[in-house]
Amino acid sequence: MGVDGNYKWVGKRTVRPDGTDKVTGRALFSADSSMPGMLIGKILRSPHAHAKIKSIDTSKAEKLAGVKSVVIGKDFPNLPNKTISIGILAANFSEMSDKLMARKKVLYDGHPVAAVAATTSAIADKALSLIKVEYQVLPHVIDVDEAMKPKAPLLHKKMITVGVDPAPTKASNVASRCEFGFGDLEAGFAAADVIIERTFKTKPAHQGYLEPHGAVVSVAEDGQVTIWCSSQGQFMVRSYCARLMQIDEAQIRVIPAEIGGGFGGKTVIYLEPVAMALSGRAGKPVKMTMTREEVMRATGPTSGTSIDVKLGATKDGKLTAGEAELRYQAGCYPGSPVGPGAMTAFAPYNLENVKTVGFDVVVNRPQAAAYRAPGAPMSEFAVESVIDEMAQKLGMDPIALRELNAAKEGTTAPYGPKFGPIGNEQCLEAAKNHPHYSAPLGPNQGRGVASGFWFNVGGESVASVNINTDGTAVVLSGNPDIGGSRASMAAMAAEVLGIDYDKVRPIVADTSSIGYNDLTGGSRTTFASGMAVCNAATDAVDQMRTRAAKVWDISPDAVEWSEGHARPAGPNAGDFEPMSLADIARTSAKMGGPITGRAAINAQGAAPGFGTHIVDVEVDPETGHVTVLRYTAVQDVGRAIHPSYVEGQIQGGVAQGVGWALNEEYVYGDDGCLQNTGFLDYRMPVASDLPMIDTVIIEVPNEAHPFGVRGVGEVPIIPPLGAVANAVSNAIGVRMTDLPLSPPKILAAIKNGS
C-alpha cells in the first residue's frame, strides 16, 4: 500500500457490485417496498406563500371511512429553539419541526399543514379535500434583495440579525452576517490599475434527483420504529426522527433503500416523522411518497442569490484586492449556504487583500437544502465572471491570468488557513494544454473558462470486514451508495486484503447493524468511509497475520501480508509455505473464532479539490438560443479509486451546472406561489441538450488517505456557471450577469448591447 503504489483493484474500471440489480429493475428504491396492512399517507399543503393559520378542522376527514389517522402541527412535540450539531450537519429542531408541519403560520407555498393516513391513495386524497383550513393571508417576499429592504414583510417578528455589532434593535429578514478575509482592501485597490465592480444574480435551482422522497414507516405497539427510506444518511434520518419525535435512537431502525439521487437534497427529511406520527396513531405501517409537484414546491432547492464583486489588478495582471458581498436566500428559516459561499468565492486565487461578507436572508420559500458544494457555485460564478472580464480588460489570456494568481501549496486561503498540497495549478496547466483550448471557434461562438474550489470533508465512519471461511469477505459500511461507492469500497478492501474484487461483497448496513456514520455528502464517502474500510481491512489482515504467526510459532511481527497471503518475513523468511487468506479463514473456528476487522473513526485530513472547465457555445444571434458545442472538465481528485465513476461524477456535475446556467430557475407568481412545479416547465438538461463531456483527471494525492483520495462530487458543479456565462458573454460581446441565461435575456442583451 501507499499513495504511489501500483494497485490491482484501485484505479480499475470494475463492474459495480449492485449493478445487475440496477439494470434489471430489481433494486428497491424508497417507493418499491410495501408492508402487509400498509396505509397510504398524504400531506395537505399551504396554497399561500405567507399566512396565519386561523383554524384547522379535520373532523370531516377523520370520519371518512378508510381514514385511520390525521395529524396537524400541534400533534408534534415542541422542541427547544437551539441549533445542535449532529456529525457534519447542524439543525435547529424547533424550526425543523415547524417546517415539517406548520404550527401558527405557513411560511411558503407548499408548507405542510396536515397529514392523513388511509387505506387507499384515493381515500387519502379525498380526506385531504375534507380538511378545512382558515388562513389569514399575509404579505410575502421572495427575492433576496427585496427581503432585505427595511419595509419588507417580516417572516419572523423577533428575528434580530446575528453577527452585527452592536446588535440591531429592530427585527429584519436578515438572519445573520458573516465575514471572512484579511489584508488591507483600501491599499489593495489603491495599488490596482484596473478595478472591476459588478453585481450578479442567480435563481434558485433544484437538485432535481429523479426519485421523489419516499418512506415506509412502521411503529409497533411497543414503540419500536422501523423506517425504510431513501436518504443520504440512514443515521441522519434516525438522529432527526429521534429528536423530532422525542424518542430514543435505539428504538428506531432505519433501513436504507437504494437512493435515486440526492445531490444534497436528501440530507434533510420531510416525510419520516410525519409517517411516524400517522403510523403510531393508526397502529399500522404507513407509506408516503411525494409527487414531483410536492418535490418542487416543498423540498429544498438551493438559494437564489445576489452578489457584488469588486476586483483590482495591476496592468500586468497581479490581483491586488478582492471584495464581495453575498446575499443568499435561506428560505423560511435561517440556514442558506452563504458561509461557504463567502469562504470559497476567491479560493482559487492568491490574494493579499480579500474580504467577503455574507448575509443569510429568510424569504417565503421552502428552506434551502444543500446542493452539491452548497453556496460555492454562485459565489464562484460571480468571481469567475469578473476574472474573465479582468483578463479581457488587461488583454490577457484568461488561463494565464488565473495561473499568475493561482492559489498553491502555502497560499493563505481567503477563509484563513494555508493550503497544503493542492492541484489548482495542475488543473490550469492541463486545461491550457488541452487541444480544446486552442481549437478554432466559428462565428457566433464563444469560449469560457472557469475554476472551482471545494473544501471536501471527512467525518465519522464505521466499517466492518467479515472474513468468510471460504476465503471471501463481506464489507459493511454505513453510507448509502448514491453513485457507485460500493464499487470503491470493494476495490479498496480487495486491495488491502489482497483478494479478488469479485470475492468482496460490500453491503450498506442499516442503523442497527453498524455503528454511526455521517451521511453521504460533502464528498466524504470515498474519503472517510473508504478510510474506515481500509482500516477495517487492515485490522482483519493483522488478525490473520497473528493467526499465521501462531501456526508457525513465530512472532506476528515476523509475518508480512502481501497478495492475499501471510508470509514469514525477516529471520523466518522462506521458512514456511505462505498461507492464503482462504487457508487462514478455513481454520478460523479452531484458531479463536471468526475474523472480523473493524474500524470506527472520525476521518480527518480531507483535502481540498480544484477544477478548471472549458466550454464552447454558439449563440443564435437572432433568437438568443445557446448551443453547448464542446465541454472539457479538468479536476484534481487526489486518487481516482474507480475512474469511470469519477468521470461520471464530473460529467453529472457539469450537466447540472449547465442546466443552472442556461435554463433552470424557480418562477414565482405575484401571489408568491411557485409556477413551474414539474419537469414540463422546470427544464433540466436532456441528452439532446449536451455534447459529450470530456474529463481530465489530475491526481495530486491526499497524504491523509491510504490511497490518496480527495473527494470528487462537489467541485464539478462549481465552474460550469461561470464557464458558460463567460462563453456566452464572449460570444455576444456583452457581459451576462444574471442566471439563467435564457434566450429572451440573451437576445435583449444583444439588442441593448449591455
Partner: protein, 268 residues
C-alpha cells in the same frame, strides 16, 4: 384523478352516442395531454371515451395532390411514413419534432387539433396548408376549425376522423421550441401553392392564425428578403413563464424567414 367511467367504443356511432348521452364526456385519443390534465384535476369528466378501437381512424392515404391522415395516427407514424416524407416532408418533419419519442408514440393528429393548444404544432400545418378536417358529421375548412384558445368548431358530439392536407409546391415548418416541453414558443408554417402563399403562426397568440402581411409579401416575392423589413406587432401575443410578447414577435419573423429558406431548399 377524479372518478370517471371509461369506455372503449368499437364504432364511431357508439363513440358519438356516448358523447350525446354522458353527463360530461371527454374523448381520449393518445392521452398525452389529457391524462396529465386529469391527474392535475384540471378536468373532471364523468366519462372518458377511448377512441383506440374505433375502426378507420388509423390510416394514411397519399395521393399526388393530397395527403390524408387518420385522426388516430400517431405523430411517430406520420413522421416515419416514407409516403408522407416523400409527398409532404414539412408535415413529416413537424410530426417528428413534437415532444419526445414517448409522446410521439402515443400522441395523435386528432387529439392535437381537437385540443387546440395555442402552442401545439399541428394546427400550424392545418392552417398553413389550408387543410380540410373530416369529422363524424361533416367537413370543416381548417380556417374555420380553430376558433379560440383551446376551442374548435367541433360540436359536442362530433369526432374528428381525418385531415386532408393539400400538397403544396413548397413548404416548411420552423419552430423555436420550449426547452422543457418542446411545445412551440413560436412556430411558423409557410406553404406556397403556385402564386398563393399561406403563413400560419402557432405559439405566439391565443390561437393559431394566418399572418396576412407575411402572406402578401411572400406572394409578391417568395424569398427570405421579402420579410426583411417587416415589423411584427407584439400586441396580443402570449406571455408565459418563458417569454413575453416582444420576444415572440421577434421569433415570428425569424422563424418565418427560416421557414422560407427551408422551403426553398426543399422543405423540412
Amino acid at each position: 384523478m377524479h372518478d370517471f367511467a371509461y369506455h372503449r367504443p368499437q364504432s364511431l356511432e357508439d363513440a358519438a352516442n356516448f358523447l350525446r348521452t354522458a353527463e360530461d364526456p371527454l374523448l381520449m385519443a393518445g392521452g398525452q395531454t389529457m391524462i396529465p390534465t386529469l391527474k392535475q384535476r384540471l378536468a373532471a369528466p364523468s366519462d372518458v371515451i377511448d377512441l383506440a378501437e374505433v375502426p378507420g381512424l388509423v390510416m394514411i392515404d397519399v395521393k399526388k395532390a393530397q395527403v390524408s391522415v387518420g385522426a388516430m395516427l400517431t405523430h411517430a407514424s406520420v413522421a416515419s411514413s416514407p409516403e408522407v416524407q416523400a409527398a409532404l416532408p414539412a408535415l413529416a418533419g413537424l410530426a417528428g419534432n413534437i415532444g419526445d419519442m414517448h409522446v410521439r408514440n402515443r400522441g395523435t393528429l386528432g387529439g392535437s387539433i381537437a385540443n387546440n393548444d395555442p402552442a401545439a404544432d399541428y394546427p400550424a400545418a392545418l392552417i398553413g396548408l389550408g387543410a380540410t378536417v373530416h369529422t363524424s358529421k361533416r367537413q370543416i375548412a381548417a380556417d374555420d376549425f380553430f376558433t379560440a384558445l383551446f376551442e374548435t368548431a367541433l360540436a359536442g358530439d362530433e369526432i374528428v376522423t381525418s385531415v386532408d392536407f393539400p400538397v403544396p409546391e413548397l413548404a416548411a415548418y420552423m419552430k423555436f421550441d420550449h426547452p422543457a416541453s418542446r411545445y412551440a414558443v413560436v412556430g411558423v408554417f409557410i406553404a406556397k401553392f403556385g402564386t398563393d402563399v399561406r403563413a400560419a403562426v402557432t405559439g405566439a397568440g391565443p390561437c393559431v392564425y394566418r399572418e396576412a402581411q407575411m402572406e402578401e409579401a411572400l406572394t409578391r416575392d417568395f424569398s427570405p428578403s421579402a420579410l426583411a423589413d417587416m415589423t411584427i406587432s407584439p400586441d396580443g401575443m402570449n406571455t408565459d413563464l418563458y417569454a413575453g410578447p416582444e420576444y415572440r414577435a421577434n421569433l415570428v419573423k425569424i422563424m418565418a424567414t427560416r421557414a422560407v429558406e427551408a422551403a426553398l431548399k426543399g422543405g423540412g
